[in-house]
């Protein structure tokens, strides 16, 4: 195979930084990606465009994106441009190997916990919210450009070289089949934040259900999946597989099992959101679920995770929880009711800044569930902040919980964390 750039080739960027090509990484439809190194030994990725993709328009787009800067650090954004022999490419950060693709998730090569998956959902929605808040549109949200860390749900967004302002008429990028909003397929609208919201909902559905929201009986029965068939299913006549008023496109057992198994595993509020996204939201851009709503839903879902007492499988809290894996009745742990959130107090639960402030900060720890050092089976929430908490027993007696001390899990007791108060249930 002949690569455009040979190993060891030296290139000078617009920012006058010399890079050396270390190795070829991969190729795609628009170009090839290489690992490169600057003089200090710092490694980067270089996307080098094929001749047919190295247009003046694309070059200007890259230059504008470099000037503008990344919406946040989760975007592997163009940092510098290299122009050589009439072709060009851009420098970006390398993706660490711990980050996996959605295809890895589908093929079970990556098996995150539900907690990590919820974090990936929150991070994904948050990243695109940051992008959209700058009046930008990603245009091509799909399988191929999201990577996540199965350990903690951190995300990285790649292929940012097609990002434009909303409704840009000059870009030829309209998205990836099966992720493109119906109104783009039918030629009624151009890519925008609204159409990004549709593609993002498809991606989230894939992440949580391991299936496409429109691929049910109709798709299963199609033998010749040509452009006409695709336009019908994803553009002209889309029908959500769990549409409550139209049952003609239900998933087929044995062929589309993921869609059935996972759908019934999640709580009704999440199913309702996906239903809105793929019923009203199919035809009305204003009815689509916005990023903040997804973030709230996945935070709520994350808070509700509990573990089967028998097999240890992660489940979601409801009034009468039964394990989806082993079908045993689950005895739920104590809960912390705080700011309208119900947080399961499992042995590994952590109270984060988000639970106090609603800011989606799941990094800063406020408290953690811990076992009494000398009395096994006795659990409490340990104060890991520098500030004191106030613990109020059901009898109304109060006690100060200093930093490093633990408030016992007593049903009906309240903990005042400073900015807000929670009740143990």
């Amino acid at each position: 195979m002949i690569y455009a750039l040979s190993d060891g080739k030296k290139l000078l960027s617009k920012h006058r930084i010399a890079y050396k090509v270390i190795r070829f990484i991969a190729s795609g439809g628009q170009g090839e990606v290489y690992e490169v190194e600057d003089k200090s030994g710092q490694r980067y990725a270089l996307k080098w465009y094929f001749k047919h993709s190295a247009t003046k328009y694309q070059q200007k787009l890259i230059e504008r994106l470099i000037e503008r800067g990344a919406p946040d650090e989760r975007f592997l954004w163009p940092l510098d441009i290299i122009i050589s022999d009439g072709l060009f490419g851009y420098i970006m950060r390398l993706r660490p190997p711990a980050y996996k693709s959605i295809v890895d998730l589908m093929k079970r090569r990556a098996e995150p916990t539900f907690s990590a998956l919820c974090m990936a959902g929150i991070n994904l929605a948050d990243s695109y919210q940051n992008l959209h808040s700058q009046g930008l549109c990603y245009r091509d949200i799909s399988f191929g450009n999201l990577f996540f860390n199965p350990a903690d749900g951190d995300v990285l967004i790649c292929d940012n070289d097609n990002v434009t302002v909303n409704l840009d008429k000059d870009s030829s990028t309209h998205g990836t089949p099966r992720f493109i909003a119906p109104e783009i397929i039918t030629g009624k609208k151009l890519p925008s934040t609204e159409t990004d919201l549709y593609s993002m909902a498809v991606l989230l559905f894939y992440m949580f259900m391991l299936h496409h929201p429109l691929e049910g009986a109709i798709e299963a029965n199609i033998k010749c999946f040509d452009a006409k068939a695709m336009e019908k299913i994803y553009g002209h006549d889309p029908i959500f597989i769990w549409d409550s008023t139209n049952q003609s496109n239900r998933p087929i057992p044995g062929y589309q099992d993921n869609a059935i198994i996972f759908w019934h595993m999640y709580p009704p509020y999440l199913r309702d959101m996906f239903t809105q996204a793929f019923t009203k939201g199919l035809h009305d851009g204003n009815a689509r679920i916005v990023e903040k709503e997804w973030k709230d839903a996945f935070s709520k879902l994350r808070n509700s995770i509990l573990y089967c007492n028998k097999c240890g499988a992660e489940n979601f809290f409801n009034k009468k929880p039964t394990c989806w894996a082993c079908k045993s009745a689950i005895s739920p742990p104590p809960r912390l009711n705080i700011r309208g959130q119900l947080v399961m107090l499992n042995a590994n639960s952590i109270i984060h800044a988000h639970h106090l402030y609603g800011n989606f900060d799941f990094v800063r720890m406020i408290g953690k569930v811990s076992q009494h050092p000398t009395q096994p089976g006795k659990w409490g929430i340990t104060n890991v902040t520098k500030d004191n908490w106030t613990f109020t027993k059901p009898t109304s007696d109060t006690a100060v919980i200093e930093s490093g001390r633990t408030a016992p899990l007593v049903s009906g007791a309240k903990i005042n964390f400073g900015p807000t108060e929670g009740t143990i249930e």
Partner: protein, 264 residues
């Protein structure tokens, strides 16, 4: 380099019953599909039915596999890149399973629950060549070689995923997860003037891997010197000899080449 007119691909190949299968009066378990001549693309598929006692109908399984793959790949040509990872593998397995069930019912074979796809177990390898890309797909053993303009042969999709002691097969549960695919964009079709795919019976006839790779290079040299028709006519006899002297196994081998061997 090919210059001037548009490159045109050609798929040629042959399938032969192995010497050992002839001796044991077993049917040929390998199968071959070659797309009819088309100015825009060529598709070739080979498959190797497992042939063990637990797979008595694997000759039918492999025949169905190459047919289904050939037809599906042609309809998917414009979107292969977007569908190669999930949708295409899923659809391919579903279509293979549908056809296997249909033949099972038609021949009034015993119906069991769950359906015994193992009876039809097979590998599958497929290659598509167009003006702008090469696409390869594989489940199970076998070899795909890409031969560059210097005649150097390189394997693609060589590393199978570990599925315990099982051979990767279309009959596995969730078989789509084991289907490996790769797209190689081409600046010029002449960058990769030949692709070779073969069931494991062919490679097993060589003493070592370098001998097998050299065979790929030799095919390229022959194509340059004698043309595709010459190879196509001689191929059945070569494969028979290869099986006789080597593994004794069935062999299916296909080559996708540029129709014209003009180089400069």
């Amino acid at each position: 380099m090919i210059s001037g007119k548009k490159a045109e691909w050609l798929a040629i190949g042959s399938v032969v019953t192995g010497a050992m299968h002839l001796r044991k009066e077993m049917p040929c378990q390998d199968a071959l599909y070659l797309s009819p001549p088309n100015p825009n693309f060529a598709i070739a598929c080979v498959a190797d039915g497992h042939g063990s006692n637990s797979c008595p109908y694997s000759d039918e399984g492999s025949t169905i596999a190459v047919k289904v793959a050939g037809e599906l790949l042609e309809t998917m040509l414009p979107n292969l890149s977007d569908h190669k990872d999930v949708w295409l593998p899923k659809k391919l397995v579903a279509m293979w399973e549908d056809e296997v069930r249909a033949i099972h019912e038609k021949k009034e074979r015993e119906m069991l629950d769950p359906f015994p796809y193992t009876l039809y177990g097979t590998t599958l390898l497929a290659v598509v060549a167009t003006d702008s890309f090469v696409f390869a797909l594989q489940i199970g053993d076998g070899n795909i070689l890409m031969i560059d303009a210097n005649g150097t042969a390189k394997p693609i999709l060589a590393e199978a995923e570990n599925v315990g002691e099982d051979t990767e097969s279309l009959c596995l549960k969730e078989a789509w997860q084991y289907i490996r695919t790769q797209i190689i964009p081409l600046s010029l079709p002449s960058d990769v003037p030949m692709l070779m795919l073969s069931t494991d019976g062919y490679a097993n006839g060589f003493m070592n891997n370098s001998g097998f790779l050299k065979a790929g290079s030799d095919f390229y040299k022959l194509w340059q010197e004698e043309g595709a028709d010459f190879i196509n006519e001689a191929l059945p006899e070569w494969l028979r000899q290869s099986s006789d002297r080597g593994s004794g196994d069935d062999i299916a081998l296909a080559l996708i080449t540029l129709k014209s061997a003009q180089t400069n």
